[in-house]
């Protein structure tokens, strides 16, 4: 099983500015001034091994879209943020437009950042493709159809050439989707959102974005930990700091890196992936949050170590 991250940003797209790119290049040139970077290989090694992630690369700015690859013929995605455009280009490059595919998409909820990529989901324009959109959310079909409509978008949903189906799921029930076993989990978020636990080939991924957890609510924390139990990977909404999420941004529907660690430790999960990055956080800030989260896991560890990473557009985690 693999998790391929096409969009990792929360709330709205956050592309790098020209100034930010310039600052990265200037910093890299200064740091590499005496490093004899006279070949592509040396320069690439310098970029990935000497520079920090924030200095040499970027976490990216696309909104939520994660592909779960389980080895079957069909595609399985979580959410339709702007990252789905990159995914669809990749799928088309692999198969070409003449070979129909089936795409299964688990949608957490219908807030705009999680569906805004659909109008640019190229497979929807191609006859023969089959697209199945799943959610526990009762408004999925209305939201998707409403988005592909004048005056918001010039291509009406009804004119899309692919076969598109909407499937309403129920929380806690187990479904066979794209060859994986999928269960859903209701999460605390404005207008509701749903997490998904995806199991296949003895591996499990939990996709839990746009979810607020109340640390004082033992029952809710236990319910979340049970959903995360022994997962190989938990993709977790870590948009805010803990202080923000229980003070000025309480009831805004998002969680923190600290709660991600606590829940994953309770759940005996193997890996925590910080996801749904706050758009105002630049690459250096996310680097720092990741380092702090790794440290927090170390100082609070009571059992087996929990691996911690921060999602970036283009990241692949093989399980």
């Amino acid at each position: 099983m693999k998790a391929i991250f096409w969009g990792t940003r929360g709330s709205l797209p956050a592309p790098l500015s020209a100034k930010a790119v310039e600052a990265k290049i200037v910093n890299a040139l200064v740091k590499g001034a005496h490093a004899s970077l006279d070949t592509v290989e040396k320069a690439r090694a310098f970029c990935t091994e000497t520079l920090s992630f924030a200095e040499g690369r970027t976490y990216g700015g696309n909104t939520a879209c994660v592909q779960i690859e389980i080895g079957g013929p069909d595609y399985l995605l979580c959410d339709l943020g702007t990252g789905v455009r990159e995914f669809s280009l990749s799928a088309l490059a692999k198969h070409g437009p003449g070979k129909p595919q089936t795409y299964h998409v688990l949608v957490s909820h219908v807030h705009w950042d999680h569906i805004m990529g659909f109008p640019f989901f190229v497979p929807a324009f191609i006859p023969g493709n089959r697209i199945k959109l799943y959610s526990c959310h009762p408004h999925l079909e209305r939201a998707i159809r409403g988005q592909n409509r004048e005056p918001c978008f010039p291509v009406e949903f009804e004119t899309l050439s692919a076969s598109i189906e909407f499937v309403t799921l129920e929380p806690a029930k187990r479904y066979d989707i794209a060859g994986a076993s999928v269960t859903c989990f209701e999460q605390l978020h404005g207008n509701d959102s749903f997490g998904y636990r995806i199991e296949a080939g003895g591996k499990s991924v939990v996709y839990s974005t746009d979810a607020e957890h109340k640390p004082e609510n033992a029952a809710e924390m236990e319910r979340a930990a049970a959903f995360f139990a022994n997962a190989d990977l938990v993709i977790f909404d870590a948009m805010y700091s803990l202080a923000e999420s229980i003070s000025v941004k309480e009831d805004w529907g998002h969680s923190s890196n600290v709660l991600g660690v606590e829940l994953c430790q309770t759940a005996c999960a193997k890996q925590l992936c910080l996801f749904h990055h706050e758009p105002v956080n630049d690459d250096a800030r996310i680097d720092a949050i990741l380092a702090e989260t790794i440290r927090f896991e170390e100082i609070t560890r009571t059992g087996t170590a929990l691996k911690v990473c921060a999602a970036y557009d283009g990241m692949v985690i093989a399980l």
Partner: protein
Amino acid sequence: MAWSERQVGDAVLAEARGRIDLSNADAFRDDLSAAMAKAKTAVVLDLSGVDYISSAGLRSLMIVFKAAKAEGKTLALAALQPLLTEIFTISRFNLVFPVFDTVRAAFGKVAPGAAPP
């Protein structure tokens, strides 16, 4: 978690000891609220004996801090162990609360009229 407190002028010096987590966060909140009710100006919370605080414990601090602020009172934290300082930094609680290296420094700032303990 163990708790003790004493009046120092218009303020209260409280001391928590042990581990504060989900199992005792409510009791911690209640003890701290009661101490705040007794204080006219501020509670200085000596955390030198606390070796761990979880998110639930931090939330209890936040609840009392907000309520105190609404009444014009202050909650000051003092003498955090290095590990607690790290937890406060990572969770950004260091940006919310007044945190002091020593109990004496906390009193000097939030209750200068009180005799230093």
